[in-house]
């Protein structure tokens, strides 16, 4: 039937009449529709149960002689190569365990989301490498394996073997939830020729001297920075990275709530940060971007020779300078940062390995994690850490011959190790809102530097965000 315009139009019953004229087509149509529906339903069920299927497969391997471990890391490039070297060595020396390293190329937030999804699906990796902001909330939510249960037998001495700050940074309410494969130690880099150009012959010993010295180095031409002394928010280093130098790492009130607003160290630190608001935040950030600090790039203002001072870790001298600015090699020094707390100190932060809840082989995962840290494996880890510019999780690794050779060849490294055992070095106490705390500290730092917030408002803001419970 056609309508007035000559188009075929639909009328009830017409299809059935046609169908009756073409029974083969009719049967095909029905079969196709049924098949389509069946494929959809089966596919959907298959997708929904895929996680469980994988988990089952992983579990079934536990009865075989070789236990397969999956390790998720988020590094790439030269660091990933080092990790692969470690995995190869572990697999060679542990025939009963086979580790497969999987690189999750994403930022911390995305990899955290991926990890959560796998925990929820019941198929997490055996080991996950995590920067420490989320460990508190993971542990509080019961998403991690408490490793206290494994601290027996040959592992009974593990916690005493580690730097105290490494244990503190991985402990939540008495349970050990994370063990670092390496620690970060922060100290003050200085550019010797640039300082000499401005008449500074030796690195500053006090905070006042440091402030005065760095101020001499600022040169701005036509709204663009030519050289600068120091800025407290480059390389993503906000408020938290200076807290140990000001005694403001753990500011809690008697109710156990964050209370930076009434913490004298925090006030001193935020006021010190505010003293840099006389420089243009936008110009510093623009210069930083211009020089390549994009998405974790390996160059920054100091490495490029445009800044007199920078707070950073040993990887800058070990990896970044040789690659980005070889001319600076042998022309820089490292000192403990001159805060108001007696030197030396540093923020207890590192690259932590955790075992997600539901991991198929937690005991073997723990064995691998402690091996990576260097526990009863000092010689091998002592040969790897220098290549990554890493500070180890335990002091005895630094006694390994390869590590000692590295220290002797690079005298500046001595600026990073003493603070690891210093009584002034602290790690932020793990809490469920650690990530909120750090995010708030970063925002507050940037806002104080741009005069959007006063130091008092900034500290209040940090408390408010970090104490948010729901």
């Amino acid at each position: 039937m056609k309508d007035q315009q000559g188009h075929e139009s639909y009328a009830p019953g017409r299809m059935s009449r046609r169908r009756s004229r073409h029974p083969g087509w009719n049967r095909f149509n029905s079969k196709f529709a049924v098949t389509l529906a069946a494929v959809t339903i089966v596919g959907t069920i298959g997708l929904a149960t895929a996680g469980g299927g994988t988990a089952g497969a992983a579990s079934s391997t536990s009865s075989t002689p070789v236990v397969n471990l999956t390790w998720w890391t988020m590094w790439s490039g030269s660091t990933l190569q080092l990790l692969n070297t470690m995995v190869t060595q572990f697999n060679k020396t542990h025939p009963g365990i086979h580790v497969t390293e999987t690189n999750i190329p994403s930022d911390a937030t995305t990899s955290t989301a991926k990890l959560l999804s796998t925990i929820a699906a019941g198929d997490p990796p055996d080991i996950f490498t995590e920067w420490w902001p989320e460990i508190g909330s993971f542990a509080a939510d019961g998403d991690l394996v408490n490793m206290n249960q494994y601290l027996t037998g040959q592992y009974a001495g593990l916690e005493k073997w580690e730097y105290p700050v490494a244990v503190q940074a991985g402990t939540y309410k008495g349970g050990l939830y994370a063990i670092p494969m390496s620690m970060n130690s922060w100290a003050l880099y200085y550019n010797i020729p640039l300082l000499a150009e401005y008449g500074i012959k030796s690195p500053p010993k006090t905070l006042a001297q440091f402030d005065a010295d760095q101020a001499k180095l600022w040169v701005v031409d036509n709204g663009r920075i030519v050289t600068m002394g120091f800025y407290p928010d480059t390389d993503g280093n906000g408020f938290q990275f200076y807290t140990t130098f000001f005694g403001a790492t753990n500011c809690f009130n008697s109710a156990g709530k964050y209370d930076f607003e009434n913490c004298s160290g925090a006030k001193a630190e935020m006021n010190w940060i505010a003293s840099f608001s006389k420089y243009s935040y936008a110009q510093v950030m623009a210069l930083q971007t211009d020089l390549g600090f994009v998405a974790g790039g390996q160059t920054d203002i100091w490495t490029n020779g445009k800044s007199g001072f920078e707070l950073s870790g040993p990887w800058v001298g070990a990896q970044n300078v040789p690659v980005s600015n070889p001319d600076l090699e042998d022309h820089f020094g490292v000192e403990a940062f001159p805060g108001i707390v007696p030197k030396p100190s540093t923020l207890g932060q590192g690259n932590f390995n955790i075992i997600p809840k539901g991991a198929a082989h937690p005991a073997q995962a723990f064995e691998f994690i402690s091996w990576l840290a260097g526990y009863k494996n000092e010689s091998f880890v002592g040969s790897i850490d220098p290549k990554g510019g890493w500070v180890p999780a335990g002091p005895t690794v630094t006694k390994a011959p390869a590590y000692q050779t590295w220290l002797k060849q690079n005298s500046w490294l001595s600026g990073f190790l003493p603070q690891m055992s210093s009584p002034y070095t602290e790690a932020p106490t793990l809490t469920p809102t650690q990530a909120q705390l750090f995010a708030a500290e970063n925002t507050a730092t940037a806002d104080v530097l741009q005069k959007i917030m006063t130091p008092e408002q900034a500290l209040k803001y940090i408390d408010q965000q970090a104490n948010a419970s729901s």
């Binding site: 389509l36 110009q283 950030m285 623009a286 930083q288 971007t289 925002t443």
Partner: protein, 323 residues
């Protein structure tokens, strides 16, 4: 039976008959056709239920809980919604999103329509111009963000080089609190090729004879635009406005790329709503709170859409609609 009488309902027997009649009203071939049709659309129905209906209702449910993504979700009533209104970042992100939407939406609408009008004119190289203006919209978002940040870098960007050479003020663009939001708006305008193409298609559907008649009557170019072009493409304008509105309200990728790479968006000056939602969900693992944020955004969007559709009766003209 007595209860049925009191409730003024039909007795059981006639009800059965009525049901039987309803079943019989769909004849056997039609029932088969319906069944076949449902089977054919079943992939879509399954997809809709799994990937839209379930997440939607789950989001509403979780917004009343303290769900963290893994553990059990505990009912906490309206706590998340109450907390929203005491959260300064929530207000900041909402303000930033509305600021962006309020400026970007009309600007991009006028600019895309203006470009489409120009590119609809008879001129040499029209196809080349159309291609040139469309290309930016197919550049991957991440790449366009990086290009923009470099172009507008106050320390070395070519834009400020030109401004300095011309002795004009050189803003700090993405790195300044005052200029960061306008910079994102400029970035948004760069990719208006998509709406421009849709306007162009709409313009080509306007009957030429209307312009000829209007020209014979002495209508100026402005009057032809005002009384012929705009009314005739008003459904296209409505469509584009809705699309752009949704994109503006859910603005995320560009801001996230630029801010997470520490290459702009100082402080919270460009902290957008969906970014904050994402941070709450996947960095702070507060999925209950972020579900409340998501549902709140849905309500806001729905209200705006309703207002837009209601108002469209006054300014959108459909040529074939019954008056």
């Amino acid at each position: 039976m007595q209860i049925d009488v009191q409730a003024n309902r039909l007795p059981a027997a006639p009800l059965k008959v009525a049901r039987g009649r309803r079943r019989g009203s769909l004849r056997s071939p039609n029932r088969r056709a319906l069944r076949l049709g449902l089977l054919f659309v079943s992939p879509w129905i399954v997809g809709f239920l799994l990937f839209f209906a379930y997440p939607f209702f789950a989001t509403i449910y979780y917004s009343f809980t303290d769900f963290n993504g893994v553990g059990a979700a505990h009912w906490i009533g309206f706590t998340n919604y109450v907390n929203l209104f005491h959260d300064p970042l929530f207000k900041t992100s909402l303000f930033n999103t509305f600021y962006y939407t309020a400026i970007e939406l009309p600007l991009s609408t006028v600019a895309a329509l203006g470009l489409a009008l120009l590119l609809n004119m008879n001129m040499r190289g029209r196809a080349i111009y159309r291609t040139i203006f469309y290309i930016p919209s197919i550049v991957p978002l991440v790449a366009s963000c990086m290009i923009f940040v470099w172009l507008f870098n106050p320390a070395s960007g070519i834009v400020n080089d030109i401004l300095i050479d011309a002795h004009l003020p050189s803003p700090d663009w993405f790195f300044s609190v005052a200029w960061s939001k306008p910079s994102f708006i400029l970035l948004g305008l760069w990719g208006l090729g998509q709406p421009m193409v849709i306007y162009l298609a709409g313009l080509q559907g306007v009957p030429r004879d209307m312009y000829e008649v209007a020209a014979l009557d002495g209508a100026s170019a402005w009057k032809r635009l005002r009384y012929i072009t705009i009314p005739m493409i008003s459904p296209v304008i409505l469509f584009n406005v809705i699309l752009q509105l949704v994109l503006c309200i859910s603005y995320f990728t560009q801001a996230q790329v630029i801010e997470s790479s520490d290459i702009g968006g100082p402080g919270t000056s460009t902290w957008f709503y969906v970014q904050y939602l994402y941070e709450q969900a996947f960095e702070f693992l507060k999925l209950g709170y972020s579900s409340a944020m998501a549902f709140f955004l849905f309500v806001i969007s729905a209200v705006i859409m309703v207002v837009l559709f209601r108002s469209s009766a006054r300014w959108v003209y459909y040529a074939n609609e019954q008056q």
